[in-house]
């Protein structure tokens, strides 16, 4: 399709006199619908999908088995020890919550900022968010010693006559993460309603029609419905926007509020939020590249999208780098020798390799995005974003493990060695994530069709849709 009509390079034009188109080729309302529905309606599923499902399914299964093992045997199956009471478990939690940030950023923040280009990718990003948060939520739940009383973290009236401790950041965490999960799931679903209706209307099989019909909540597409819908969507966006900032700030309190040298610092909230968006967008690109290629979305998801996201990645990378610097500076400037040691120990102690991996992946590598070619060439940006994902996992590992393994009393210092279960569950968590994501790709509208149609050239009513305007 992209051979005729709008050429990819047009989308990159920064000519102020005319707004660059957000899609390529000569898309019409119908072609958009076709392209998107094709994936969900394809009578026979592509082999690649099955292969991917088997692989991710296997890891998801591994995750379930290991979780069972953990619940039956005890947290001891992990490598956690004294003093490293938190290790992979919380590292994974923070990592996945971080991933979960891009979705809301793109869908809510960019929506409110009228960044129309978000339309082609927000559905995907939101799905990613929902699944990432689901995976993230698992870890705090299973990492506690007595999972069967996990509900004690919730404030509910009970015969013991006591409440949870509202001073504990962990409690704030529970609230923040559950709230975030609810809102982003809701946002995702509400955004999908018109598209589900479209699928419903195109459905041939009766069962399929009924299921989609129920999911579409009887959407008719009447003007009145649209009016309510737009309002609701805008409101949700307004609700979700502060969450982008709040969730990871609260997560960072788990560390910032403690007295552990290397944790106890006020920059954490900012630093964590930036890092979260950083890693989230990197993950978006990681998912977008194959999805776009396999599902033939080249026209809807253009190079311009990558370019934009990569610019944000570059910006957040700089913020993260700045945070690293400030941490060290304030440790030195603060003059507390425990704090100073914590950072020396990160860089030159037993875990130096983790620290430098983090710095290279999160600060050095993304600088390549100063070069346009890296921002616009898929095969060049892919390794960068993959490294960013790695780097961000290591960031959490460094913060948690190196700080804990050497805090105040040298007599209590002890290195941490992960067990195979630790690695198994790390990989497994990716399995669960991709398993869910693949299901989404196969059965749900992966791009917001209805919204897409509002950004097609000429969808403003001037000239016919599908005919790119050339001066």
């Amino acid at each position: 399709m992209s051979t005729t009509g709008i050429r990819p390079e047009d989308t990159m034009s920064d000519d102020p006199r005319r707004r660059a188109p957000l899609v390529t080729g000569s898309p019409t309302f119908s072609t958009v619908t076709e392209v998107i529905c094709r994936v969900a309606e394809a009578p026979k599923t592509p082999l690649a999908w099955y292969v991917a499902m088997v692989v991710s399914g296997a890891f998801a299964g591994l995750f379930l088995v290991l979780t069972g093992h953990l619940l039956v045997t005890g947290v001891g199956v992990w490598g956690n020890n004294a003093p490293v009471y938190w290790a992979f478990d919380i590292t994974n939690f923070v990592f996945w919550v971080g991933i979960g940030h891009a979705g809301t950023l793109i869908s809510a923040v960019l929506f409110i900022l009228r960044q129309k280009w978000r339309t082609s990718i927000n559905r995907l990003a939101e799905a990613m968010t929902v699944f990432a948060v689901m995976v993230a939520g698992l870890f705090p739940a299973i990492h506690i010693g007595r999972v069967w009383v996990v509900y004690w973290l919730l404030p509910y009236p009970n015969q013991m006559g006591i409440w949870p401790n509202f001073r504990s950041p962990l409690l704030w965490d529970v609230v923040a993460v559950t709230g975030y999960a609810t809102v982003s799931a809701l946002f995702w679903y509400v955004g999908m309603i018109p598209d589900l209706a479209t699928l419903r209307d195109r459905a041939r099989h009766r069962i399929r029609r009924l299921v989609l019909g129920a999911a579409a909540l009887g959407w008719r597409g009447s003007a009145r419905q649209w009016q309510h819908y737009e309002k609701a969507y805008l409101l949700l966006a307004a609700v979700a926007t502060p969450l982008v900032v709040s969730v990871h700030s609260v997560v960072s309190f788990d560390f910032a509020v403690s007295i552990i040298p290397g944790w106890h610092t006020t920059i954490f909230p900012v630093y964590f939020v930036a890092g979260a968006i950083f890693s989230g967008l990197a993950m978006v690109i990681t998912l977008l590249i194959p999805a776009r290629a396999f599902l033939g979305l080249e026209d809807l998801v253009t190079i311009r999208h990558f370019d934009n996201i990569n610019k944000v990645i570059l910006a957040t990378s700089l913020m993260v780098g700045y945070a690293y610097g400030i941490e060290v500076f304030s440790a030195w400037y603060g003059g507390g020798h425990y704090e100073q040691f914590a950072f020396l120990n990160r860089a030159y102690g037993p875990y130096w390799w983790a620290f430098w991996t983090m710095v290279v992946c999160n600060v050095a590598v993304p600088q390549l995005f100063w070069l346009r070619v890296f921002r616009t060439q898929v095969w060049l940006m892919l390794p960068v974003v993959l490294l960013v994902n790695v780097g961000m996992w290591f960031e959490r590992f460094v913060i948690i493990v190196t700080s804990l393994s050497r805090d105040y009393l040298p007599s209590a210092w002890r290195p941490f060695t992960p067990t195979w279960v630790d690695f198994g569950m790390l990989l497994g968590s990716f399995g669960v994530f991709f398993f869910l994501f693949l299901l989404f790709l196969r059965f749900l509208p992966i791009v917001a069709m209805a919204e897409m149609k509002t950004i097609l050239p000429g969808s403003d009513g001037h000239g016919e849709v599908g005919q790119a305007k050339h001066e």
């Binding site: 005890g74 001891g76 003093p83 490293v84 506690i144 069967w148 040691f341 030159y348 009393l409 040298p410």
Partner: protein
Amino acid sequence: MPQSPDPKRHWRSLEELADTPHFRAFLEAEFPAADDPGGVSRRRWLQLMGASLALASVGGCYWEQRELLPAVDQPVDRLPGKPLHFATALDVAGAVQGLMVTSHDGRPIKIEGNGAHPLSLGATDAFAQASILSLYDPDRTRRVVRSADGRAPQSSTWDEFERFAREHFGALRDRGGEGLAVLAGASASPTLAAQRAGFLAAFPQARWYEYEPLSRDEEIAGARLVTGGALRTQLDLARARAVLTLDADLFAEHPAALRYARDFARSREVAGGRTSRLYAVEPTYTITGMAADHRLALRAAQVASFAQLLEWEVARLAGLAAADGADDSPAEDPEAPPAPPYDAAVAQLVRAAARDLWEHRGESVVAAGPRQPAAVHAAVHRLNAMLRNVGETVHYTEEPEGARPAHHEALAALVEALRGGTVETLLILGSNPLYNAPADLDFAAAFEQAKVRIHASLYRDETGRRCHWHLPEAHFLESWGDARSFDGTYSLVQPLIEPLFGGRTAIELLALLRGEAVPRPRELVRATFASIAGEVAPEELDLQALWRRTLHDGLLAGSAYPRQLPGLLAPHRPQPPPPTELDRGLPAGGEMELVFCRDRSVFDGRFANNGWLQETPDPLTKITWDNAALLSPATAAALGVEADTRVRLSYQGREVEMPVYILPGQAAGSVALPLGYGRTAAGTVGGDAEAGVPPVGANAYRLRTSEALAFGSGLTLVPTGTPYRLATTQDHHAIDTVGLRGRARRLGELIREAPLDEYLAHPDFARHVVHHPPLKSLWEEWSYEEGHRWGMSIDLSKCIGCNACVVACTAENNVPVVGRERVLMGREMHWIRVDRYFQGDPEEPAAACQPLTCHHCENAPCEQVCPVAATVHSREGLNDMVYNRCVGTRYCAINCPYKVRRFNYFHYFGDLDQPGNEVANMAFNPEVTVRGRGVMEKCTFCVQRIQNARIEARNRRRPLADGDIRTACQQACPAEAIEFGDLNDPASRVRTAHNDDRAYGMLAELNVKPRTAYLARIRNPNPELSDASDEHDRHPA
């Protein structure tokens, strides 16, 4: 199970139930604590997990129906659930401690020192604390075992054995006991001695051999050399101002260690201005070495030369003092031959020490350890005489063991007899020669010569498994007996529980073999008591009353041996040794010295099956569940040996492979080998070949020969390079430079120390080590001015790091034992740990130790972060840990700056739910919840003791007095280093400690407001040497 209602046997019912299926139900009914915090035993947690998700508030109500089993006839003198205390005594290889045992509903559950006993003064050592676990050890022999030659051992009964004995020993008696030999361990029991006499009277031809792998033979011989008599040295360290030990661990290994530790601690009081000074010369680091102001590492063989040199120095001072008559002005003597050029450190120390000792003559002490040959002991006696300490700080009493041959000679004689085939019946009482006999004797082979071998012991050990009869011996808490402690104080041993496994004491057994139909141990003891009472208190007419009093008090007043004033034999002209003998470099030709040590965890191996002791980290090496060849860093470097690897040790053609541990302060060229490991028939804890349980550690006895019982030269050590990780609780593998610098930077702040003079100049120096901005709390702070305010203080000047507190805490608080693998994972569970740091030159480091418990911070970081409020503050300032509320996020432990919280990563007591472990369950303290999986735990300041004391006091409408409440660690501490009490009580000991100038709060700059105050350690270096050991440079080794 019929039972006679006999009030004197009130512990019966329990013993009867011990093996019935109802026992568990009984336990749960009577001792609710014997379950996990969820109130949910392992068997049940899964179903409950499902249920409790729906039913929030059920939390362990009627998940199972429990039964109440009232006693059929409740003895009048006892209330269910009220603990009773009984005095008794523990005799370990002839060394006696007076004990006070707490019994809960007929179960002895805790051992304390007997405050009235002169040698324990209320304190205990780790072994005594742990002996309670041995009582309930399921691996103890449960029945008589008979194994005829060539046939598999089969379980038998006492009746069968009695039938056999009647006939066999009847025959022997007719032959006058010809061909009968008895091998026994050392014992301090007069009754046993009497039985032995009676036995030998009944079997005149029989021979009696006494063997202990670790004995005081050389000490006895040394005394004989100088005095001609059998004399025992009694030290009075309380009065000593200058003490010098020659390879002697007075505070841990001496039979009177508890008393000596206490006296020394008292003599360190800086307040009085009479602070004593301690010099230690030793091949390997000991408890005493840690406490010393000056320590010199010398190979064991060189200690003799050092003694000789010291004697020469002192003689010079004494000689010329005598010459110019003016006693108190020792000046240099121009005619005296100048000392030949010795190793600088040695020369310096010897001169300074000599002057110091001389200046404090009459108030000084020189002591040598059992490892040193008689000659050194002789020198020590002469030194004490020259220093006019005899009768002042050094006293002599008769040596009851004077008559017997040296232990290894006795064993050699036995082997001789066995080889000669003159022994056909061998009766072994308690000893385990197949494990601990000198290797060169090849006891195992000789042993086979005896046609009938009978072994009575607590465990069916290496020896027991090769005997025709193995008889279960009664644990001392199950026995009637008696014992005389080192100073002669006579104590009675009374049973607190019926023998759980039908064991009998050696006393009973001997009486039985002598032909008594029904031995009545109580009567036998009573008889001995009568005779001793006759000597000690002839005026006492009412023997019954005296007997009762002795039982009650735990000792017979005035039964200590009378002191004697012996004269020295020949006058002695000391000569300085050739300097080469005191060269501290590595010996030429890589011929290492090997030094055998008594292990601080398993003694000589007899405690190998005791989990509490195995898991207790060694005070110096911090190794648990293992032993290792100890090398100094320089020696290791010279031999190319790396930490965490194994080496092959060969000595006189015998080889042993074991891991190495690089111990700063080990004498160069000397390799220390802790004995007591590598047991193959200890039990499921210490190693059991038959059950497929690998031994713990390596057996150093395999290298031990008759001529090198203590130490020897000619050891070759070859690195095998095989990596091996020792399960240490501190300093895990080689630490990087960043870490070293970080540690060095903070050490001075954590453990605050000063030499005496600096302290006298600035008494409050400890308060000025760390300066911080004013501390502001985020939260409104609670005022503790009202009511009680529990606090603790730990005096680092007194603490000797002996581990008694650690084991006491384990026993009191049901602290789980996790095993080597989990210690390696970093999951040890001790509520109190003793941190050990080295400072200064790695070859001659100073060591410091610091006990660490929960500090019960008033502004506790752990409490703020717990999401479910499972750890909160009591109004009296206790940092309560509520196991049953804990969900196990571990956040509290993370936020604890002292890292004293412990997490149950697994269900460590899981197996105790399984049938067959009822007996092991009896060791639990019913006053303390047994924690289950997934909950955090930590030191509670023994809150159960606080609560019970408070309830008691309130019921009686009287206030709590200082000392009513003593924590387990405080009570066990021989040095009185730990004080606990009410900080709001201005008169309390803990308050005075907190007010002391030396008091400081560790990490107080974090504004956690710790309730535990440390009292800075004051070292008392000799001014002449103070430059040599600069207290201020702290390069951690």
